[in-house]
């Protein structure tokens, strides 16, 4: 259990996150469009058919206010990181093979996810070394109960770097909206109470350097703020 999770208030059942966080690749129209020209070429050969997921393991989890360490650049690691804002769906009830119609009944609430990555050139192999580094998944600032979110498929999420608005994205542009995504994911894997499913980032993701601060905000969900610092 990551200590960061205790810093994320959740006043609806199950009253705490499980620590399991999945992300979804290529679920925003802009992300799909950015790769459109290469999708039918090797190594991909075809656009994805089922949701493409990745795990943000427990060492990546962080809360608002936690510092994100930017690794020392080298031949393979750029000096800038990607800070990709996503809507995170928090599971409230065990979701196994749920229908699209029933999917939202399994949702406890929503939070913001800052899915941090080292920019990487392709998505053929799982990018664990680029996405699963310590502290690379700030979440929060709290879990907002589902009842307080009028329409999760029409949320505007804004990203600020050092106070400057650098990205505005809407969940209206998700290729699989929240309920559809939950149905398609739980067809092959069960999500448990407290699990988080990040629904997909827009492209291009904002870039951030050591010394900068990223704030991600959305109406009703609040503001998730994290400083990025150089390697110790």
């Amino acid at each position: 259990m990551s200590i960061a999770l205790f810093k994320i208030p959740m006043d609806v059942a199950p009253f705490g996150l499980s620590g399991t966080v999945y992300g979804t690749l290529l679920n925003h129209r802009t992300a799909m469009a950015a790769l459109e020209a290469r999708m039918r070429l090797p190594p991909y050969n075809a656009p994805p058919r089922a949701p493409v997921l990745y795990l943000k393991p427990r060492n990546t989890l962080a809360a608002g206010g936690d510092t994100v360490e930017v690794p020392a650049p080298d031949a393979d690691i750029a000096a800038e990181l990607e800070a990709a804002a996503c809507l995170g769906v928090v599971i409230g009830r065990t979701a196994c093979h749920v229908s699209e119609a029933a999917a939202l009944d399994h949702v406890a609430g929503f939070l913001l996810v800052n899915d941090v990555s080292i920019p990487h050139p392709d998505y053929y192999r799982p990018s664990v070394r680029y996405k699963a580094r310590d502290g690379f998944c700030p979440l929060g600032p709290r879990v907002t109960a589902r009842a307080l979110v009028a329409n999760p498929d029409a949320l505007v999420i804004r990203t600020f770097v050092d106070g400057t608005l650098v990205q505005t994205m809407s969940t209206a542009d998700l290729i699989r909206p929240v309920a559809r995504l939950l149905a398609d994911v739980t067809e092959f894997m069960t999500l448990a109470p407290g699990d988080v499913l990040a629904t997909g980032a827009a492209a291009p993701a904002p870039r951030v350097r050591a010394g900068q601060t990223v704030a991600i905000e959305a109406d009703t969900l609040g503001r998730l703020m994290n400083c990025f610092t150089g390697a110790a």
Binding site: T20, L26, R49, T60, C96, R125, P126, R133, M189, L191
Partner: protein, 265 residues
């Protein structure tokens, strides 16, 4: 050597009992039971599951892959875990679902930027893993993608967690898989492309490993299709035998509509 089992309404730590060849176990409270009297869980509290692809030269060749510069690492979630003697679902529409017998390395102590020479000090013990894949669902996006590898109940761990001190040489253990009693897969951990110390050094260079994290070190050649009703037994020298049964969709109340999650974009 210890297991986690459910029995009589509680979770228990258990150790082997009886003579060699007998599958009996003893609970910490002294009760002695047959192995089919308990529900076997993964033998430790599992944290992050880190899996390796193509980490035996013979298996990589079997799948027509060339040698790699860097380990092919992917992660798995908790829903995919299953204990000894469990059942794993095979979707009706799949043409090729196969087992993968692997040595699982259980981390016992926090590991951050650990050098190869110190790596094994961070290992608590070892167990057997059977890391199923449904190849029909492989796609070339974050391959092997979760739909192929992170399915419910498709990562079997157990039966025992064997203390590192009781495994003389983890780099020389034979792995064997039997399907319905017939030997179908055989390999030895001495043929790992990236060995255990290297994997701990590599992984801990970018992610802090914690007690309970587990590294599934990859599978040798000999993977084969399995069908509902098949009994799949994975063995590793000194670690025991891990039994799993393949079940069909009906046992899970499914109609075989697994393709419903696909969409043409």
């Amino acid at each position: 050597m210890r297991a986690r089992v459910a029995y009589g309404g509680a979770l228990h730590m258990a150790t082997p009992a009886g003579h060699a060849g007998e599958a009996r176990l003893r609970l910490a409270d002294g009760r002695e039971l047959a192995e089919d009297q308990v529900i076997w869980l993964p033998p430790f509290e599992v944290g992050t599951v880190i899996a390796l692809g193509l980490n035996y030269a013979d298996h990589a060749k079997e799948l027509a892959f060339n040698s790699q510069e860097e380990p092919l690492v992917f992660l798995k979630g908790p829903g995919t875990l299953l204990g000894h003697r469990g059942a794993t679902r095979r979707p009706t529409d799949a043409a090729f679902m196969h087992y993968e017998c692997e040595l699982a390395v259980i981390i016992g102590r926090r590991a951050r930027r650990v050098a190869r020479a110190q790596a094994l000090r961070h290992v608590a013990g070892y167990c057997i893993a059977n890391d199923y894949a449904v190849r029909d669902y492989l796609e070339n996006w974050y391959r092997p993608n979760m739909r192929a590898k992170n399915r419910d109940g498709a990562t079997v761990l157990g039966p025992w967690c064997v203390d590192a001190g009781d495994v003389a040489d983890p780099a020389n253990l034979e792995l064997r898989t039997f399907v319905n009693g017939r030997l179908t897969q055989r390999g030895n951990t001495r043929d790992l492309i990236f060995d255990i110390p290297y994997l701990i050094e590599y992984l801990s260079s970018f992610m802090t490993l914690a007690a309970g994290d587990v590294i599934l070190t990859g599978t040798p050649q000999g993977v084969g299709n399995v069908m509902p009703g098949d009994e799949v037994v994975c063995e590793i020298d000194g670690l025991g035998r891990l039994v799993n049964t393949i079940a069909g969709d009906a046992a899970f109340g499914r109609r075989g509509d697994d393709k419903s999650c696909e969409s043409n974009i």
